[in-house]
């Protein structure tokens, strides 16, 4: 009996020892790479935003000027999402929203879009999707310029917010209409969200008054 207890204890201590060393190595690596990782992620996001909004159209620190938005049907989000407010001389000129298109061919499509203060889209980009490679993936700017068709489009007539096949204004490519349909719908819903929450999304002063 005593022997079993002893060998169990020894084994446990051994395992704990290895776990402790492993944890120490991980903690050190985390500590050393933490700032670089944060900077890389921020740079990547800023690069994405610069595709949506001309960088000279705003002059604030857009990464710090953020709003946290509650999950919303119109945004397609199930979790809190982050919005970035672009300002020029303190006045809001545009807002960048995270949007999920729920009706993709294979699952949700993550998008970001920028809406100008005049209610028109400044740009739309797909961040991640699982659409069929070579068919539905032309929504990705890396594959085609299709997504640029949204630039400058305002809400206008609701009937226009469809793909051409359904009587709307947006082109599609043969063989893949479900994917663009999802993007058009999600963008349309985002514009409706913008109209409903305009004052909240374009707060007059940074951080908002109490």
């Amino acid at each position: 009996m005593k022997r079993i207890v002893r060998s169990t204890l020894e084994t446990t201590i051994n395992l704990v020892f290895f776990a402790a060393i492993g944890t120490a190595i991980l903690a050190t690596t985390y500590y050393l790479t933490r700032d670089t990782i944060a900077a890389t992620i921020e740079a990547a996001k800023l690069k994405l935003i610069s595709q949506l909004l001309p960088p000279d159209s705003y002059d604030n620190d857009i990464m710090r000027d953020t709003l946290t938005l509650a999950p919303d049907e119109l945004l397609g989000t199930d979790e809190l999402s982050l919005a970035h407010v672009a300002r020029r001389n303190g006045d809001p000129v545009a807002v960048v929203l995270e949007v999920v298109a729920r009706e993709g061919y294979s699952g949700n499509i993550q998008m970001v879009l920028a809406i100008r203060s005049d209610g028109a889209l400044s740009g739309v980009r797909v961040i991640s999707h699982k659409e069929t490679p070579g068919l539905g993936d032309y929504i990705d700017i890396a594959k085609s310029d299709w997504i640029r068709a949204f630039e400058g489009k305002a809400r206008g007539n609701d009937a226009d917010w469809k793909v051409k096949k359904d009587g709307g204004q947006f082109d599609t490519m043969t063989g893949a209409t479900i994917t663009p349909r999802a993007i058009v719908k999600a963008s349309h819903l985002a514009l409706q969200y913008f109209d409903a929450h305009r004052d909240q999304l374009l707060p007059p002063i940074k951080g908002g008054k109490p």
């Binding site: 051994n14 290895f18 492993g22 990782i37 890389t40 990547a44 490679p133 070579g134």
Partner: protein, 231 residues
């Protein structure tokens, strides 16, 4: 470690016991990520790094690990190494990290890593173990790269697309359009293309082996290859 031992380990890893063609270990990333040469090569090299490091770490500590808990300890060491590689990729190769996504952390569960720890590093000194890890990794990388290249040429008509994820925007010019104005062959990019491609590669390897055997039978036998360091 002498030269013949080195040669035997290298021959085992790269050809005879090739993890992608013979042991058929670690097929999940092999099939999922090999849709382009750059993706395949990157994941192959990340795996190579992990196998080499894990073998080199496990071999010197092997005598301190009680037999009953050797698997948990090996898994622990492998998981730590993979997470370190993941942090480094996240920090310095962010775009590539996004493309490879879940398959980087999944290297932990790639059985080739644990298999080499268990069957080689737990019985051999550090240096041969590291060489074994390196050779096994390179063997897997070679298969991945061949499969990735095949699928990319047939599926998209290009080679090296996505190289800009590794070397920055300026590398976009390196992309080779093997077949100009190609409309793509979807099957090669989708998972079935990976199975068919891998099957063809395995068949060619077996064919080469058979041919070599036949040749050897017709000629006076050369010196037998050393069987030491078998995995």
């Amino acid at each position: 470690m002498n030269w013949s031992e080195f040669k035997a380990i290298a021959y085992n890893g790269l050809w005879k016991q090739n993890p992608g063609l013979v042991q058929l270990l670690g097929l999940c990333p092999l099939l999922a990520v090999s849709n382009s040469l750059v993706n395949a090569l990157s994941l192959g090299l990340a795996t190579t790094l992990v196998v080499t490091l894990s073998n080199a770490t496990i071999a010197p500590v092997r005598s301190y690990v009680p037999n009953e808990i050797r698997i948990p300890v090996f898994v622990l060491i492998i998981a730590v190494l993979v997470t370190v590689v993941q942090y480094l990729m996240n920090a310095y190769l962010y775009d590539l990290y996004l493309v490879l996504g879940i398959f980087v952390p999944l290297i932990v569960t790639n059985c080739i890593v644990l298999a080499r720890a268990e069957s080689f590093a737990s019985k051999n000194p550090a240096l041969p173990s590291a060489v074994d890890g390196l050779m096994m990794g390179l063997g897997l990388t070679a298969v991945l790269a061949t499969l990735g290249g095949m699928r990319e040429i047939i599926g998209k008509g290009t080679l090296l697309s996505g190289i800009n994820l590794v070397f920055g925007e300026s590398a976009k010019a390196w992309v080779i359009h093997v077949i100009p104005d190609y409309h793509g062959f979807l099957l090669a990019i989708l998972p079935p293309g990976a199975f068919i491609g891998l099957g063809l590669i395995i068949a060619s390897k077996n064919w080469l082996n058979l041919r070599a055997e036949r040749k050897a039978r017709n000629q006076p036998a050369p010196a037998a290859l050393p069987e030491a360091a078998r995995g």
